[in-house]
């Protein structure tokens, strides 16, 4: 089995998949802690459907570089959903559900009215579940992903103390002179970027899992914000790595394998937390 793994690692696309997988899972788990605590667990799901909708537009209009449309649209939606914190007209979960289902519906509608290939359900399945796109990454995409992940991680570390206080108590932070609007905006933009990146890895339906599971697992066992964040990042990276390796060896779909590993780890952590 080891020799089989080493054989596969000889291929650059396998190495790329591992690098990108680990980087994206790192970013998504860092943000996951804040999102889960702010009661925005479903934002990943909502925004990824928005990205799916935007993607169908690029497919229908045959744009060559779909990032140019998908990223800005997702960022705008993320900002609309998150920027005002808890003072929005339509409350968090309703707004997310509304945007997510309508983007999904319009995306599928567009694909059916203007079919670009004979196999619509195959196309939809690919975008929703990510299937193989992580195995077809080019070197340029890997570098782009690396730069963005590094930026997200650095921003998170530099603003760690602010992110903590804005998450814990937005009003107090605002009253002490922290520009909460700016930090909410920053979080929204980062989340949108991570989600668009993560679509390559697990597809739009499973992004939520990548964002919430490591954070939830960590919260079962650890009791301070720092330890939860670190544990969440470590867990997420290990799960993504294990998931990709298993999927290569067993020939299972990458996205769902990673999520399955995440769920398993969550179950184990829950048991550990109970025993304490």
């Amino acid at each position: 089995m080891i020799s089989k793994l080493i054989f596969y690692l000889g291929f650059p696309f396998v190495r790329y998949a591992l690098i990108v997988g680990v980087l994206i899972s790192l970013c998504s788990s860092l943000l996951g802690v804040t999102l889960v605590l702010k009661r925005f667990s479903f934002i990943g799901d909502g925004l990824s459907h928005v990205a799916f909708g935007a993607m169908t537009i690029t497919a229908v209009t045959r744009l060559t570089n779909d990032m140019l449309l998908v990223l800005p649209v997702t960022v705008i939606c993320a900002v609309l959903l998150l920027k005002n914190g808890h003072n929005t007209v339509i409350k968090g979960d309703a707004a997310i559900a509304m945007i997510s289902v309508s983007a999904l519906a319009f995306g599928y509608l567009l694909m059916n009215i203007f079919p670009t290939s004979g196999n619509i359900s195959g196309d939809v399945c690919t975008t929703l579940f990510g299937s193989t796109s992580i195995l077809t990454l080019s070197k340029g995409e890997v570098i782009l992903c690396g730069v963005l992940s590094l930026t997200v991680t650095i921003l998170f570390i530099v603003f760690y103390n602010r992110i903590f206080s804005v998450t814990f108590d937005e009003d107090f932070s605002h009253a002490s002179g922290t520009d909460t609007g700016f930090y909410n905006l920053m979080l929204a933009v980062i989340i949108a970027v991570v989600i668009v990146l993560a679509m390559n890895l697990v597809g739009s339906l499973l992004i939520s899992a990548l964002i919430i599971f490591p954070a939830l697992s960590a919260m079962r066992v650890f009791r301070s914000f720092l330890s939860v964040t670190v544990c969440s990042a470590v867990t997420s990276v290990c799960c993504a790595f294990a998931g990709i390796v298993i999927s290569i060896l067993a020939g299972t779909p990458v996205g769902s394998t990673i999520v399955a590993v995440d769920v398993l780890v969550f179950a184990v952590f829950t048991l550990i937390g109970k025993r304490r």
Partner: protein
């Protein structure tokens, strides 16, 4: 010069004005209790003083060297905080965020300040405990320690004793009284009019009628007596 002065202040959201033409001022060491019926705008007033909401009209002037963000705020507990995985230390330290300026991390000086306030609130043994595992009274002490990290000059407390049992409530009041005696000015929203009368130096009653003055003056007004009888009667 007063620490904080409200001049012709009107409160409200959008075009809906709740309170009109408020005038009051607070000096260092004062203890002001804001009382009034539910929905009279007490929390709105507090959020306006904190610059979380823009006043509909009028202005808030800070003086006596008090900076705009030098206010220690003890909010009502939110749903998010109840099961938040954070240690007492992390939360108290976050009170220093106004002192960070442009720096990303807390300095030794900030940590010392947090340590002192933890000691002052008598929660040293809880330092590494998780916030969600604490009792209601302990959580309030943590949030009070955090507020003290923001400033020692002025504390704004939004119903600091709601949901606490009588013994812990009494402890909380004497804790706040001690802070006030040490020179911290206090503005507190309270439902407990009897205690407000007992501890406060000034009363601000808002609602259909507005009163601002010392405690002694308030007790002699008709409005104060009505409110006292009604609310006091309910509590007895």
């Amino acid at each position: 010069m007063a620490l904080i002065t409200a001049r012709n202040l009107s409160l409200g959201y959008d075009s809906h004005i709740i309170v009109k033409d408020l005038n009051f001022s607070l000096n260092g060491g004062d203890y002001l209790c804001i009382v009034g019926e539910n929905g009279s705008g007490k929390t709105t007033l507090m959020k306006t003083l904190l610059h979380l909401i823009k006043p509909a009209a009028g202005e808030i002037i800070t003086g006596d060297g008090l900076k705009k963000n030098e206010i220690g705020y003890l909010p009502q507990q939110s749903l998010i905080q109840r099961d938040f995985p954070a240690s007492v230390w992390e939360i108290v330290l976050s009170g220093c965020q106004g002192r960070l300026g442009k720096k990303p991390f807390y300095s030794d000086e900030h940590k010392k300040l947090a340590e002192e306030n933890i000691k002052k609130m008598g929660i040293t043994d809880l330092r590494n405990k998780c916030y969600r595992d604490l009792s209601g009274g302990q959580q309030q002490r943590v949030l009070l320690a955090r507020a003290l990290c923001a400033t020692q000059k002025l504390l704004l407390l939004d119903e600091p004793v709601s949901g606490l049992d009588p013994k812990v409530t009494a402890e909380m009041y004497s804790l706040i009284e001690r802070l006030n005696k040490d020179g911290t000015a206090v503005i507190m929203i309270s439902h407990d009019i009897m205690r407000a009368i007992r501890y406060a130096s000034h009363i601000l009653h808002i609602g259909s009628d507005v009163f601002f003055g010392t405690r002694e003056e308030y007790i002699t007004t008709k409005m104060g007596q009505n409110f006292l009888n009604r609310e006091g009667g309910e509590q007895a």
